[in-house]
Symmetry: C2
Subunit: 304 residues, 2 copies
């Protein structure tokens, strides 16, 4: 079945609701996050970005990063990670026991200053420090290139800037790369172009993508990414999420929709769709509003 | 750019809002429909399903089919069509001057009885009558296979039933075929399978698809259809639509989102995106509620 569409056999789905999904929400008890985490793990998710070690004043919803981290050893067989925006954040993460880190570098100065308080080149120059901290702890560093296609402040991002950033990040110790569609503007064609360019520059580094569904193109772009052989995709239960420092950003692609798409085209994700839909319902209760999940409203086409 | 994704250079986008989009709405003045039609033509749409010649008591919103038809000659260079569900409807359409007709045959008895008041085989047996009426008027007949993947009453539709129906329809005079995803359950894999099977049975008949975006899979499935070489796609401005005789049916894929996807991947549709977004806003005013158009909310990524 998948032959005609040129799809891979499986992908590695990374759940980012506990970080990207909650970062724009009002702070909530750590216990609510752990309840959601229970549901996500029960649904079969095995790569989970659990929190971010960033400024608690800038992102109050994630001020309990260390408390969340303290519980992660209770879950077996899950690869947990955390997002950081500075070497200081990386140290706090490692001290809290999280050694798989996503370090964000914005490809534009406008977003970099808004998000991290420094220019893109300055943020890039710190990859080596972050990677050093992580390496000493026996972990691994992924660099997420934020605003890889468009910046809400600086406009379209030149692909050469992303390629150059990616190359430098790998030279500085990044073991994985991820292209972030921070404001939901990428579509399949631009996905194909940038993936090809970054792969040419960094042919041996695993490359993932992080998509937002701002303009209804999320699933089509995810399908295209998988057809291009991208095996690492971020998603967030119920489509929760958005960047507090990027005007116009909206929710991530929804985990349950990506998992549904994958099940339907024969791409393994290791998840249980019914359990994912239960997790969406739980996420709605936790954030106190309905989420934009068409799949939750309409239900699985298979009613068994 | 499109090379990596295997897409065609152009598609023929058929706008179905005036039929599928309005059929579940409260009846509205013909003048409002003509205002929307003006906007659709102004946005570059050149294939438009303008109305349906069906029972006014069953579909009161389309009771003014002949009045709408009387205005179609005012638009130059547009291929208008109408949907019919019986030879009687075909006669009324031809009498009103519309000779490009879509005749619906449901692939399941459950939907066929609910939609047309007769079993699938009985509806199929009338293709020849419809085609005869159309041929004498110098027009062309398309058969839309409703519930081609799933029926809300009878469950999954056996692909063999669709293939057999398609073959018989072509033998009876259908010059085009269209696979209707009436309740929004198709996904890229099942699209690939059924398109391949129908093409094998009817290799020379143009084959289109009619999708609903019930579970968030509409754009991904449209992308896959285009990759499979399907060049005829139905869509409805703002995602208006749904079947009054199919519980669980929701809106069609949105014209503006399909046009945006196509523009982004270099597939020509002949449409003007800014004008399409104006037409969505007009459609919202006409039906009196916001439509589920993420693209309208977020806007074109190009702000020029």
């Amino acid at each position: 079945m998948t032959g005609a569409l040129g799809l891979p056999r499986s992908i590695r789905l990374r759940e980012v609701s506990l970080r990207d999904g909650l970062q724009i929400e009002a702070p909530m008890p750590t216990s609510a996050k752990l309840e959601l985490l229970d549901a996500l793990v029960a649904a079969g998710l095995r790569r989970i970005e659990a929190t971010a070690f960033v400024s608690p004043s800038a992102v109050p919803a994630l001020a309990d990063a260390a408390e969340v981290a303290a519980h992660l050893s209770e879950y077996q067989g899950v690869e947990f990670s955390a997002l950081v925006a500075s070497p200081g954040g990386a140290r706090r993460a490692v001290d809290a026991g999280v050694t798989s880190l996503e370090y964000v570098v914005s490809a534009s100065d406008g977003h970099s200053r808004a998000n991290a308080g420094r220019a893109s080149a300055e943020a890039l120059a710190r990859v080596a420090d972050v990677a050093g901290i992580v390496n000493r702890a026996g972990g691994r560093t992924e660099v997420i290139v934020a605003v890889a296609w468009d910046c809400p402040f600086d406009g379209p991002t030149p692909p050469e800037a992303v390629v150059s950033l990616a190359r430098r990040a790998v030279e500085s110790g990044a073991e994985r790369l991820c292209l972030g569609d921070t404001i939901g503007t990428v579509t399949p064609g631009r996905m194909a172009d940038l993936v090809a360019a970054v792969r040419q520059a960094c042919p041996t580094t695993p490359l993932g993508v992080h998509l937002h569904d701002t303009r209804g193109m999320g699933m089509a772009t995810a399908l295209a990414a998988m057809q291009l052989g991208v095996l690492d995709l971020d998603a967030s239960i119920g489509g929760l999420g958005g960047c507090p420092f990027a005007p116009g950003a909206s929710g991530n692609i929804a985990t349950e929709e990506l998992a549904y798409l994958c099940r339907e085209v024969g791409v393994e994700t290791g998840t249980d769709l019914a359990a994912l839909l239960e997790a969406v319902a739980l996420a709605e209760r936790i954030v106190g509003r309905p989420l934009e999940s068409r799949l939750l409203r309409a239900g699985d086409r298979r009613r068994d």
